[in-house]
Amino acid sequence: MGLSFLNGGLLGALSLIAIPIIIHLLQRKRFRVVRWGAMEFLRLSQRNRSRRLMIEQLLLLLIRCLLIALVVLAVCRPVVRLAGMNIAQSRGQVHAVIILDNSYSMGYRPAGAANETVFDRARKRALDIVERGLRQGDAVSVILASDPPQALVRKPSLDLRSVAALLRRSVGLSDAGTNYGKAARLALDVLGESQFVNREVFLIADNQAAGWEGPARDVPAWEGVARLAKLVFLPVRDGNAPNAAVEWVQAVRGLATARSSTRVQARIVNYSTAPLRDAMVSLEIDGKPEGVSQRVEVDPEKGTLVAFNQMFDRPGVHSCAVRITGDRLPSDDVGYLALRVRDSVKVLVLNGKPNAAVPQKDAAFFLQLALAPPISGPGSEPTPLEPRVVPGNSFAGANVRGFDVVTLSDVESLSEGDRRLLAEFVQNGGGALIFLGDRVNAPLYNRDLYDAQPSLLPARIGKVDTAKASLDAGSFTHPALQRFRGAQDVDVGTAEFSKYFALTPKTEDRTVQVVAKFNNGGAAIVEKQFGLGKVMLVASTATTEWNSLPLKPVFLPLIHQLVAYLASGADGTRNGQVGQPLVKPLPLSEASRRVTVTDPAGDKSTLKPVVDERGALVTLEKPKSAGFYRMAVDGGTSDVFAVNRNTGESDLKSLDQSALKRLLPVREWTWINLDEDLVTALNQSRTGVELWRHLLLAALGLMVLETMMAQLFGRRA
């Protein structure tokens, strides 16, 4: 036999019992004083009467205390559970909270189950509970457990038939993973609002280890659920299930250009205990199969990389999907990538110090060489970068808007017109890369590009420093330079800097960050976001006059990485995961337009851009499905985004009862296996009677008794 309280938190109110006692004591303290002569008669009377009086008073006090205790206990709603007491006939109303796992792993089709998925089984179990396990007067809530969990029916619904219809009609698999801990928290909320006597929580799930372990492990939440309700586990799949998944797809180089080959790479993971053999991996571009399929073999619990060299014949955003041949869980057999392919990347180099005689002293010489190296040897491809060098300190009529990146190299200063042109260029998504040098008029830079608006420079330019320094590869955390961090092929640390400007980054600007540091701690490259574009300032020259960097092998990939990064401009988050926001930046000129979003299923919705300091942004907060999303600006451009599943869910190892018991030391639960009849098992486990009615009746009786006794004693007195 066990006693528990549904509103145990109110037990503290038992201290109210002190009230009648305090009143009694206070009354004994408050009396009049009479100086009296006839004491003898009083003494005689008192001797006979006082004991009875005291007993009467104590009796009344006891009744009053008991009355309060009973009312408080009734409010706390105690439930007594007697072993073996079958209350199937006499039980009170039940509030069933069904937690239905609809994560994508539930789409698994077990062997020998025709075309039935695990989720179909789970849905049947849920319908069993609603249609056979409950009866008229019972209520049901339904929680869908894929992360983040969602209460499909939150308020206890007495209309069992429509809940059953809802389960049949409107509940489907999601593309999200599972977090049983979060589901338990939601169930706690639902239980907290429940006014029902008997509460039962059913978890219908495949009990994937990933949904219970790590951050999903929330023992207190489950303990809370078990305290408030009877916890029933209804596993719908057991043991391990073989599964392979596409973990991710990405382009090897960040920058893809048309008519040059782009390497698309995918990682295939085998979550089974047996090796994966003869699986075919194929690439789809814009919905059409492309190129050759590749056969992969993956060892048990291992992953492998598969790469496709893809030539895009036209620029634009392309949707790339990598598939492996179907297994029993098809939903994770595909990975998505939205890839922006450019025609080419046009780079304008403003050469502030042309020198035809000594090319090493020409401020654009090494830059041009790095951006467009001469084609040498078979198999080498032209770089997708198209540099154009303009000598002098002015753009001189060059159409800046037609470029992706503008590079200033040792330019003395910019005229007001050029400054405005450059600002507008960056504002709309262009990238600017600024090298300094002995021609640079630092005070003018600071005055016109740092202090004055628009303030393009990410740092104030200080004095020229001549202490020898080198680049600190350890400081390369910026995405543009991550390739060099701990790289084996090239070493940025070998380049020696004998002269450089001291840069003071504008720390009050949130978008300013130091991209690279010297080994003495000084800033070597500083970046700033300006509008939709970015500006990078390098402390030294792009020639060999101040440093040896242009002579080092790292120079070419470094320039390519920086240019690729700066050229990515207004790209936003093009590739994300289910549940993570997708952000598309828009030029301010399009800030007032509506954006139509088409999800992978073809459903359309509209969004409005939000304007902040970075420009106008369109955000799709929580994409629910995996696949390609299209965002089309009214009367403007269209863009493609890719959303992938979190493949943590693809590991189908599930916990059995004993493993779960170890993980979740909850006092008491019922485990009903798939082959057990639900209703029989339920009735065996349903015990418990609520006592509040009895307590209130007893309190009522005491109230009457108290009144009668008080009157009786009063009359006798």
Binding site: R32, V34, R35, G37, F41, L42, N48, R49
Partner: protein
């Protein structure tokens, strides 16, 4: 012990004496006017003989019973007992100081008024009146005299009487019974709260000495009705331990005990021919005296 000069010059004492004298006069006049309406006379007036009616005699003295029997008119002739000595014993124990709310007098004040009034009445009739003030023993003894100045002394002694938190009635009564040599009248003014046996022993002693004994049991209406409701701490006026009491709870029992005492007192007094008059302080003192005189002479 006569009063000191200082006490006599005390304006409070003088005021108290004047007030008491006024009260005494009220009582006396009340009693006399009451007596005028009735055929009864004062304390010391005793029937002597009949005499044939002659015109000029007061008609109210005609003895109608004799007239009825003999068809002749006789008038009653009275003889004044000039040698009556009355001893008024006033209880000044603390219990006598009880005064219920809304009451005009405490029991002691009431006793003082009665004592003064009766003294006045007696002296008016040329009887001798004396006062004994007692509590845990005899405190003051003013031997009976029949002079007007003596009355003033009685008043002064009455108003300056000190209270003591103890009553010892039996020793006082025995002492006085032994002290008073000549047969006289003993008037006791007390609540008689004490051991009934002791009180009765004392009274018996007076009766044994052939004194005429009159007891005025002076009570506050509170003591008779016990009208308290709220929880009350009763503090003993005579050093008894305090009692915290729910009066409603014990009223019934109190009244029973009280009545038990009073009826026992009444019965025992009757047995030894002691006149017992119960006077509550809400009653006009003159009425109490008249009530007694009426009973005495009927």
């Amino acid at each position: 012990m006569p009063l000191t000069q200082q006490q006599l010059n005390d304006p409070q004492v003088i005021g108290a004496v004047t007030r008491l004298e006024l009260h005494a006069r009220e009582v006396m006049e009340g009693v006399i006017s009451g007596l005028h309406k009735s055929p009864y006379h004062g304390f010391s007036v005793e029937f002597a003989q009949h005499r044939e009616y002659t015109p000029g005699d007061e008609i109210r003295y005609i003895d109608w019973r004799v007239a009825g029997r003999s068809d002749r008119y006789y008038v009653k002739e009275f003889e004044e007992e000039t040698n009556l000595k009355a001893y008024i014993l006033v209880d000044t124990s603390e219990s006598m100081t009880y005064k219920g709310p809304r009451r005009k007098y405490s029991k002691l004040e009431y006793a003082q008024i009665l004592a003064a009034g009766m003294s006045s009445l007696l002296i008016q009739q040329r009887d001798a009146a004396g006062v004994v003030i007692f509590n845990d023993g005899v405190q003051k003894y003013v031997p009976p005299r029949a002079t007007a100045t003596h009355f003033t002394q009685i008043l002064e002694e009455l108003v300056t009487a000190q209270t003591r938190p103890k009553t010892a009635m039996a020793p006082t009564f025995h002492y006085m019974a032994d002290t008073i040599k000549r047969r006289g009248m003993v008037i006791v003014l007390s609540d008689l709260f004490g051991d009934l046996e002791d009180v009765m022993e004392g009274l018996k002693h007076f009766r044994y000495r052939k004194h005429e004994v009159i007891v005025f049991q002076i009570l506050d209406p509170d003591e008779v009705n016990f009208p308290f409701d709220d929880l009350t701490k009763f503090e003993g006026l005579e050093l008894e331990p305090d009692l915290l009491v729910d009066p409603r709870g014990i009223r019934e029992e109190y009244l029973r005990q009280f009545e038990l005492f009073c009826s026992a007192l009444e019965r025992r007094c009757g047995e030894i021919q002691v006149d017992l008059i119960r006077a509550v302080t809400s009653e006009d003192p003159a009425d109490a005296v008249t009530r007694y005189l009426s009973r005495r002479q009927s």
